[in-house]
């Protein structure tokens, strides 16, 4: 799953259409991960190679082309590693066949296919191999066994391409998914036993029967799952586990060392790792972010909304971008009253490509139909001012008295940017956003001396106006404010 996002960013960069926020995330991955750089190099190399062919031969003339480049010798270790992997693959395939043979013999259904995409190979039903390519929408080449809703009795599913994925649901409601070039064998004879030979597998596992946890074997580790949500990635010599919820026990095959991995932690099991779980929370998309949404007309709800990196307070922060494709906004569910006084506060930090003149722009607006998709009328734009620091957070604030024309309308708020340098690439980070309203009596309401002049009973003084938080703390925060 993660690599799928990485590949999307890499090809967006290669195509020259990457956004500032996505580019920042891509560069962070390239900085942090050797694997990410390897994938990047493969795709850039592929791009160059295709362009060489397209450039020199042109479209339509390809089939007459013969090879012409000069071979560059590969290192001996390359042969050795690849041969070793192939041998290892053969051994594992032979071993895992034993896992599901009993299910195959009985033909008992243990799971249902809930989603398929890309090129996949399924081996089940006594060794019958089914290959398919396409999606559920164009699945004419698929056998029934590889279509949504098909019942499976255990076997091996193999993703044949980077964009391949396969999702299944066991009869107890536990779900699992492989993506990319992954090979998974699964069986369930009262206890779910899986073997992930390579690639990525993520699962949401319902509580399992006592004494019969789900077991996931990889070449380098054994995972014991009682009931939780997690993702695991297997490479030739390592297993990386990321737990989203609950707890998973990991036993390293190399020396039998066992650790419990808790939610929001990741551990790498390999011969030379320290097996120490590391706290990590990945970025989230707009689709995964409550309350806030990306309302840009060309906005992609799957682009980055919040992340942990470059944090203000140890929790996640909102990623702002000058790109026109990103405009975070929310329907505050607040109906404006005449006499309202709005105040905002937040912390923000300029990041990559943010020019000295660029600013954060908080826009308060209503629409012609009280829906966030309606035609907007912005009645206040509260600017942050230029960034005064580099690499550290600074406070932003502003306030406005609402115009009487906006009374009785629904309040919407957008966290926008204002360009100051003519380059729409700047990225900034924003945290602890707060919007509050104080309602002051409308002009024309009875005053205290009115009552005294009329010798009426002295009434209780009206309560002093107090501020009400519309957004802030735990209220409508989109999971990026400090709890």
């Amino acid at each position: 799953m993660k690599n799928s996002k990485l590949v999307t960013r890499i090809v967006a960069w290669l195509d020259g259409r990457i956004s500032g926020a996505e580019s920042e995330a891509l560069q962070q991955e390239l900085r942090d991960s050797v694997e990410a750089r390897t994938i990047f190099n493969r795709y850039s190399e592929l791009d160059a190679s295709i362009r060489e062919v397209a450039d020199t031969e042109g479209v339509g003339a390809f089939s007459q082309v013969s090879g012409s480049s000069v071979a560059i010798p590969k290192r001996a270790t390359s042969y050795y590693v690849k041969s070793s992997l192939v041998i290892a693959a053969l051994i594992i395939v032979a071993f895992t066949a034993v896992l599901y043979v009993q299910d195959v013999e009985t033909g008992r259904s243990i799971a249902r296919v809930t989603g398929v995409n890309g090129t996949l190979t399924w081996t089940g039903n006594g060794g019958k191999i089914v290959q398919g390519a396409g999606s559920t929408q164009t699945g004419t080449r698929w056998s029934n066994v590889l279509s949504e809703g098909a019942e499976l009795s255990g076997g091996t599913i193999e993703g044949m391409a980077q964009d391949s994925w396969f999702e299944l649901e066991f009869h107890d409601g536990s779900t699992g998914m492989i993506s990319g070039d992954s090979i998974l064998t699964f069986s369930d004879q009262g206890q779910k036993k899986l073997r992930l030979k390579q690639g990525r597998f993520s699962a949401d596992v319902k509580p399992q029967p006592e004494g019969k946890p789900m077991l996931i074997h990889t070449p380098s580790a054994v995972l014991e799952v009682i009931g939780t949500e997690f993702g695991v990635e297997v490479k030739a010599e390592s297993t990386t586990l990321y737990v989203r919820e609950g707890k998973v026990q990991v036993r390293r095959v190399y020396d039998g060392r066992t650790v419990d991995v808790l939610a929001n932690h990741r551990v790498v099991a390999s011969a030379d790792s320290d097996m120490s779980p590391q706290f990590v929370v990945p970025e989230r998309t707009w689709a995964q972010t409550p309350v806030w949404r990306n309302i840009a007309s060309s906005g992609d709800q799957d682009s980055i909304a919040t992340q942990e990196a470059r944090d203000y307070d140890g929790a996640r922060n909102l990623v702002l971008s000058e790109e026109l494709a990103i405009l975070p906004a929310q329907d505050t569910d607040y109906i404006i009253r005449s006499g309202d006084f709005f105040e905002i506060r937040y912390e923000w930090m300029a990041s990559m490509w943010w020019a000295a003149q660029d600013q954060v722009a908080i826009r308060l607006f209503t629409t012609d139909n009280d829906l966030i998709s309606g035609t907007p009328t912005t009645f206040a734009t509260l600017l942050s001012g230029p960034s005064t620091t580099t690499g550290t957070y600074q406070a932003g604030s502003g306030s406005v008295h609402v115009p009487a024309t906006e009374a009785r309308k629904r309040l919407f708020v957008a966290i926008d940017t204002q360009d100051g340098a003519g380059e729409l690439h700047g990225v900034a980070h924003l945290d602890d956003f707060q919007l509050q309203v104080t309602h002051f009596p409308e002009p024309g309401s009875p005053r205290l001396d009115d009552f005294q002049l009329q010798e009426a009973d002295f009434p209780d003084p009206p309560p002093a106006p107090t501020a009400t938080i519309i957004i802030g703390g735990r209220v409508r925060n989109g999971d990026f404010n400090r709890k």
Binding site: E45, D47, A54
Partner: protein, 174 residues
């Protein structure tokens, strides 16, 4: 070595190593036109300095070093953009991509795999990688939304890379 021999030797070496240089530059520069521009600059610099090249040493490594410096010079001239990597990422990529034995995809690998693709998919893939072609315009011509079109191309690339990787792995076994 007279001038003709010298020129011939240089040309032969340059033709041999140019694809490697362009592949190296592709991972650093955001567009193919920039790759070609910097590759040409590097070739010119290499020709001017060819007398300094020690016969018997690696011409490819020498040319890559020149290309890396030329790319760096080019990078300093271009505007700030999400397409231009920041210093540390640039250095990491440049360092790793210039290592020995990095390039494995050879033209015959690619051609073999392209031949296995449906002709319409193959031509589409080559078309969007042709000089001067804007992917957004091809998407429009094809009647697809940009996002849908990008996904199609991404899938074709993934299939091709998968095929190429398997071909290379199979050669490694042989």
């Amino acid at each position: 070595m007279n001038d003709d021999d010298r020129y011939e030797a240089f040309t032969r070496l340059l033709m041999e190593h140019a694809p490697r240089v362009r592949s190296f530059l592709r991972g650093l520069l955001p567009s193919w036109s920039e790759v070609e521009e910097v590759a040409q600059e590097a070739s010119l610099v290499a020709w001017r300095k060819f007398d300094d090249f020690e016969e018997g040493t690696s011409f490819g490594g020498w040319l890559l070093t020149i290309a890396r410096f030329e790319a760096l010079k080019y990078r300093r001239r271009v505007a700030r953009s999400p397409l231009v990597f920041v210093d540390d990422v640039w250095d990491l990529l440049a360092e790793e991509a210039s290592g020995e034995g990095v390039q494995q995809i050879r033209r015959r690998h690619l051609e073999g795999c392209l031949e296995k693709m449906d002709i319409s998919k193959r031509e589409l893939l080559l078309k969007v990688h042709s000089p001067g072609v804007v992917m957004r315009e091809v998407a429009l011509q094809a009647g697809k939304s940009e996002q849908a079109f990008y996904k199609i191309i991404q899938r074709l690339r993934a299939v091709l890379l998968d095929c190429v990787s398997k071909t290379i792995a199979a050669e490694g076994e042989a």
